[in-house]
Structures are given as C-alpha cells and as structure tokens.
Amino acid sequence: MNYPDEPLPGSDPGPDPSPERLRRALALAGIGAIALGAVGAFAWTAGWLGADRLTAGQVVDAVEANGGPHPGFRRAHAKGVCITGTFTGSADGRALSAAEAFSGETLPVLGRFSIGGGDPHGSDASARVRSLALQLGGRGEPQWRMAMNSFPFLAVATPQAFHQQTLASRPDPATGKADPVAMEAFLADHPRARAFQQWAKAAPWSDSWANTEYNSVNAFRFVDADGGERFVRWSMQPRTPFRELDAAERERADAGFLAADLDQRLQSGPLHWDMVVTLAAPGDVVEDPSVPWPDARDQVVVGTLTLLHAEPQSTGACRDINFDPLVLPHGVAASGDPILAARSATYAQSFNRRQRELALGQGNAATTPEATP
C-alpha cells in the first residue's frame, strides 16, 4: 500500500511533492519566527516595547516637561559657572584608596558650581539646592568625576520614586504650581521625601558657593593598594566660614548673586575645601542615599580642593563635560546604590540631548555669555 503523496516506485516523482512543500513551508515559517523574535527582543531591550519598565529617556522627558525647553542647557542644575583649580590628596587618603588623587601629587581640577532646577536663568535666591561637580585628572587619563550636592541626604531611594516625585511636582499650566493633592499623595508614600522637605525648611542657607558644604550623598567603595575595601561617603567641607543668608536677605538678593560673590572672592585669592571621607560601620545602609549615616561615624581628611578661577559656563570647559559620578579611577568603585546607576544613565541622556541641540544650532543661548546688567 502506498500513501497518496508517496511516489510509486519507478514513476516520475514530480517537480514538487507535497511533503517537500510542507517541509519548505515549515522552514520558511521557522526563519520568519526567528527573525521576528530577534527584532522583538531587540525592541524590548531598547525600551521600545513593554511600557512597564522605566527608561532613562522617560526620566529625562519628565524632568524636561517640568522645566520647559531650554535647548543646549543641562536638563537639571541648568544654571551654573565653570571653575578650575587643583586637588592634593593626603597620606590618610592614600591609606584608604589607591586612587591617583591621593598619590600626594597635585592634580588639575575642572568643575562647575550650580543651583538646583531646570531654569538656566532662575534666581539664585530661590534655589534651595547648590551643587559642586568636579573632574580630577586631565584628558586621556583615568579621571574621577564627582557630582555633589548641598543636601545631606536624598528625598528618594530609587529611580522609580524619583520619577514619581518629578510627576507629582509637575506645575499646573494654569497656576504654575504643583498639584498639592498629587504631592501630598507622593509624600504619604515616601517618608524620606518628607524628611527632605523638613531639611529644606529648617537648614540655614549659606550666603555663598564658597562657604557651602557639598556631599557625595551616594556611597562608594574605596579600594586600597592591598585590595582592602571600605564603603564611604564624602564631603567637601569649606574652609571659608559659614554665614547665613536669612529670608529677608534672600528677598533683596540679586538673581545672579552667587556668581558675582564667587568672582569677588576669587579676586582676593584661592578658595579651599577639605575632602572628608565618612567610613561606613558594619550594618550601615550603603544602597539607600535617602538615609544618612549616624554622626558618630569615623571621618578622615583625605585631601584639599583649591579653586583658583571661575568663568561663565557658556564659554568655559565645564559646559561640554558630563559630570557622571560613575567616571571613577582605579581605587574607587560604585556601591550598589540604584540612584547612582540612574544618575549615570540619565546624565548621559541629558548630555546627548544638549550636545545635539548645540550641533543643530538650537542652543545659542547656552553658548553666548549673558550680558551683565
């Protein structure tokens, strides 16, 4: 007995018997499925498919939407000035980390002072947060970039919470203010954000970038020459004495008083900060930047930052640097803090967008010095 499709012995098999056709059809379907599967997996990895995951682009989109378009400028901490100076590490620093910064030799420093917020023309007196970003080491060398802030701890512990906070702070187009109901709902779920608000309300404002303390906030790992590791946070502690700028003085202050003050101080000489490292004790949470470590932790002075010169960011070298806090030298490594990874990812997005705008000629405001009134 023969199956209908099987050719009879000795007869012409025909040009295309059915089992062969079926085999080819299955093969073609298999190839199509493999190609489609590959494209789908690629699109998913790129974040084009699957709306449930937060992407770096979405975080920056939300920040942009809150601040309005300012092409060519940083998406956050848009207003600032460029600075240059030096860093010299101490023997105590050398004992904690094999980083070149602690070798005892003086390294060149490029940096930037800024105020919080996405408005490059915002008023200095209304910005609660001040920042200092640094790049230790030159071009073509292993560098150490830092992006430090005047707050002692962050309001949130994850990029997802940061994104929710951005969405809750979105200004209502009618009033220009955030929806208080949305913000209250966010705060109810995030007690550390409420603690941050209390810090913002209670902590005294300094009257200068020069007498402000700047904190790494995120934890890092220091690795010494023998491979010994310690979790640390650090601060740049100013040698310039603190002076409070009270509410009445803030009312009267010029929109650009911080840059004017800095210029004046640098004319009479360099400004100094001590880099002070705080060592984590066993059991301290290293992956949550919203929780400060207890005050009693050991502190070590690991070096001195000296600032010599300031210039407008529109023409200064800091304009085209992405102060990614994960550009780290040998001897310093990241902790598992998810905010640290998210800062690296979102700063890269901000950098790509603003450099693209400069290339397309849309960012002239960011490359032209502002006329001084």
Partner: protein, 183 residues
C-alpha cells in the same frame, strides 16, 4: 586542499572560528548597546562590558579582513539568482565595514565627549578625536544609526543563511560550519 585553493568547499578554519566568535560578540554587543542606553539600572555594568568588547571586535575584525584578503572564500553555487549573489556580496562587505566602523566611531565619540575610554580599572585608551560638541553629536548619532543598520543586516544575514541551510540545502551554510559540501 591547499591554503590557496581556488574554489574551496569551506571558509578556512581561521575564518570559521572568527566568524562564530564574532557572531556571539556582535549580537551580544547590539543588545548591550540598546540596553545600556535605555536602562536606569544596568548602564554601569553594561557600559563597562561595551567598551572593551567593542575594541576586541575591532581587533578581531582586522584579523578577519586580513585572512579574507589572503584566502579565497568558497564560491556561491551557480544555481543562485544574480540578485541574491549580489545581495550576498553587498551584505558581507557591509558587515565587514560596520564591524570596523562601529568600534572606531564609538572610540572617537567618547574622545569627542572628553570621556575616558576606559578598558579596565586604571586602563584608558588615548583620545582619537578633538573634544567638541559638534563632533560628538555627529558621531553619537552615527554610532546609534549604524548600530541599527548592523542589527538589520545581521537579521537578514541569519535569515539568508538559514534559507540556504533549510530550504535551498546548497552547501552555503556548510561552508561556514565546516560540514561537507553535498554532491
């Protein structure tokens, strides 16, 4: 079979080894690349893989091109229509071009950004492009779009290879696996 066979049945052993090693590296790189740009959590370890893997692909691609110039590859079967023969040659040279161009553009792009081109802790490559926002923006756009082009070409290449293996069964796939040529 001599090393200078005028119509060998297979790519030589060097070509086959490099092909399969680079296939794994390049497909992994494409996914690492789009993943690290979108992810809010995985960028640090993905980019630490991406830079040295890119330089490794560049070095392997140079070895591979040298080998390709010195050893005649097997001819495509005469049964193949002319347009498929042309598409095969064009896509192979596009693949070679992109596996050299993408790492070089990536290296130049980081140089233009002023970023250290970090291979490992404490080991960085020298910059190969001036630090400039316009140069950076052009290279960054090129790196992304050429990577999408490479992905599309890889998908077509794999589909065509499987078509030869499963439908045509003409020995083209075997030329790269080292299997015996039929007939």
């Amino acid at each position: 079979m001599s090393a200078h066979d005028t119509n060998p049945a297979h790519f030589n052993r060097t070509a086959r080894s490099l092909h399969w090693l680079m296939a794994v590296l390049i497909i992994a790189m494409l996914f690492i690349g789009v993943g690290m740009v979108s992810s809010v959590s995985a960028r640090p370890w993905l980019i630490d893989l991406h830079r040295p893997m890119g330089i490794a692909i560049l070095l392997l691609a140079v070895l591979r091109l040298r080998n390709r110039m010195r050893h005649q590859p097997p001819a495509l079967p005469a049964s193949l229509p002319v347009w498929q023969r042309r598409a095969a040659h064009a896509s192979h040279w596009l693949l070679y071009g992109l596996m050299v161009a993408l790492p070089v553009i990536g290296w130049a792009m980081l140089s233009a950004a002023g970023d250290p081109v970090r291979m490992a802790s404490g080991l960085v490559l020298p910059p190969i492009a001036p630090q400039d926002p316009l140069v950076y923006a052009a290279l960054r756009a090129a790196h992304g779009w050429l990577a999408y082009l490479l992905f599309a070409t890889v998908v077509l290449h794999v589909s065509a290879a499987l078509l030869h293996a499963w439908v045509y069964r003409d020995g083209v796939f075997g030329a790269m696996t080292g299997a015996r040529k039929p007939g």
